[in-house]
């Protein structure tokens, strides 16, 4: 569970947030990247459609859910960025019978 902090200035990776390319540091979490965006909202709630950003950053609060590489309702604070990763904000209730 404990990681050595990555060396800043190391090579960067590119992830795509709703299709937009975004530079990220190797070793950081997707939620960490979301926090740095002007719009850090990662999802809206299923019943009232309220905006949510990452919060606890340790896998407890489930506020940081997002769609990662096609998989919805993923805790983005628990996922480390990978080159070419596709992240989408998750809006309202998931649809599994689309």
């Amino acid at each position: 569970m404990f990681h050595k902090l990555p060396d800043p200035g190391a090579t960067t990776v590119t992830i795509y947030l709703d299709g937009e390319p975004i530079p990220a540091e190797p070793g950081e979490s997707v939620a960490g990247v979301l926090f740095r965006q002007d719009d850090s909202v990662c999802r809206t709630t299923p019943v009232h459609d309220n905006p949510r950003t990452p919060y606890c950053m340790m896998g407890v609060c489930f506020d940081c859910l997002a769609v990662i590489d096609g998989q919805a309702s993923v805790q983005s604070c628990q996922v480390t960025v990978q080159e070419g990763m596709r992240v989408e904000r998750q809006h309202g209730r998931r649809k599994v019978n689309a």
Partner: protein, 375 residues
């Protein structure tokens, strides 16, 4: 005779709260004594079905009671929502029990025919829908291949059971009832000159009448007033998914989508005593069946698995009885506290207020369990 209350209700769960709410609306001074949060509470894992179809097979009076209760539900819900200001998401567009093979479908059809035949005076309230008919009626339903059809109870529906309980408590208090939480009843005794003294630890209250509606806790309380009802816990495990866009338009037996979008999957029926554990085997069994009905659920995330202990009598039917040895003491026990809430708050509360049960309730007396075996 001056008592603190007309009636003390031991237990403020789904059954006690409905009775208390009903009594408080009949000019009765009522005190409800509720147990602790960590007590065995069947309502913690209630599935929320308001359901008649198929109930009381082999027991026409329980069938009649269930059908009447479900028919009374819309008016009961309207009044309760109005008085409490709490919306408990009651819908009654019918309920399905899926059949996962042709064989299951035919057996279910025969069983429903026999069930209807038990009460020839009532109009049939259940129809069999084959797969094509199911898909015609519910075009958005994406059924698994195994689904051959379903029985469809036209009167059935569902509700948010936690909000229902909160609504009954709120409306009960609005009607002037008294409620003490964290006050499990520890002793009930007769008062000289009539009435009862009810103790909860250091708290003592007196009333002309007592109603025991303490679920599994009733095993301890009943014998104090000559109401010794055999009971056993039956474990029910439940699963719930994340909130999803609508995929199941009406509730089904063991599968329902709540107003908020979660899908509840249940429920096991296990004879394991007072054990609230959840098991992988239980989860696997429930999920396997749910996926055969709605394969799309495979993409959903499960967010919680939990268990409760349901209140079971030896024959699974409710018990309503007045004490012979302790006049003024009564007991009410069942495992369908949501469906029967309209009855508990209505006809049963009236009977308790008058301290007079109609003969139609005789069949629900627990003496049915004490018949000596014929040689």
């Amino acid at each position: 005779m001056s008592q603190d209350y007309d009636v003390i209700v031991a237990g403020a769960g789904m059954v006690g709260a409905a009775i208390g709410y009903g009594l408080a609306g009949l000019q009765q001074r009522v005190l409800m004594l509720d147990g602790a949060d960590a007590d065995f509470r069947a309502a913690k894992a209630n599935f929320g079905l308001v359901w008649a179809h198929g109930k009381g097979f082999g027991h026409p009076d329980y069938q009649r009671l269930s059908i009447q209760a479900v028919q009374d539900w819309p008016a009961f819900a309207r009044t309760l929502e109005q008085e409490s200001g709490i919306d408990f998401a009651y819908e009654h567009d019918g309920g399905l029990q899926f059949c996962l093979s042709e064989d299951e479908f035919h057996k279910r059809a025969a069983r429903i025919d026999a069930w209807h035949a038990q009460t020839p005076e009532l109009a049939p309230c259940t129809t069999m829908l084959d797969r094509a008919e199911l898909q015609r009626r519910f075009p958005t339903l994406r059924l698994g291949e195994a689904v051959a059809g379903a029985s469809f109870g036209t009167l059935d529906g569902h509700v948010n059971p936690l909000r229902l309980l909160a609504a009954m408590h709120r409306a009960y208090l609005n009607r002037g009832g008294q409620l003490r939480s964290n006050h499990p009843v520890t002793a009930i005794s007769n008062l000289p000159g009539g009435g009862f003294e009810v103790r909860s630890g250091d708290t003592v209250a007196r009333a002309a009448r007592v109603v025991i509606a303490a679920g599994l806790g009733s095993s301890k309380l009943g014998p104090m007033v000559g109401l010794d009802v055999p009971l056993r816990p039956q474990r029910g495990q439940l699963l719930v998914t994340e909130r999803l866009a609508p995929l199941l338009p009406v509730p089904a037996s063991g599968l329902r989508q709540t107003a908020e979008g979660t899908v509840m999957i249940g429920v096991t029926q296990e004879e394991v005593g007072f054990d609230l554990a959840t098991t992988t085997a239980g989860a696997a069994q429930m999920v396997r069946r749910a996926l055969r009905v709605l394969p799309d659920l495979a993409q959903a995330r499960l967010v919680r698995q939990w268990a409760c202990l349901r209140v079971m009598t030896p024959d699974g039917n409710p018990v309503y009885a007045q004490s012979q040895s302790h006049p003024g003491a009564s007991i009410a026990l069942c495992h369908s506290g949501v469906t029967l809430a309209s009855f508990h708050a209505g006809a049963l509360a009236h009977a308790l207020a008058k301290n007079q049960f109609s003969s139609s309730l005789d069949i629900f007396h627990h003496e049915r369990f004490h018949v000596p075996q014929a040689a």
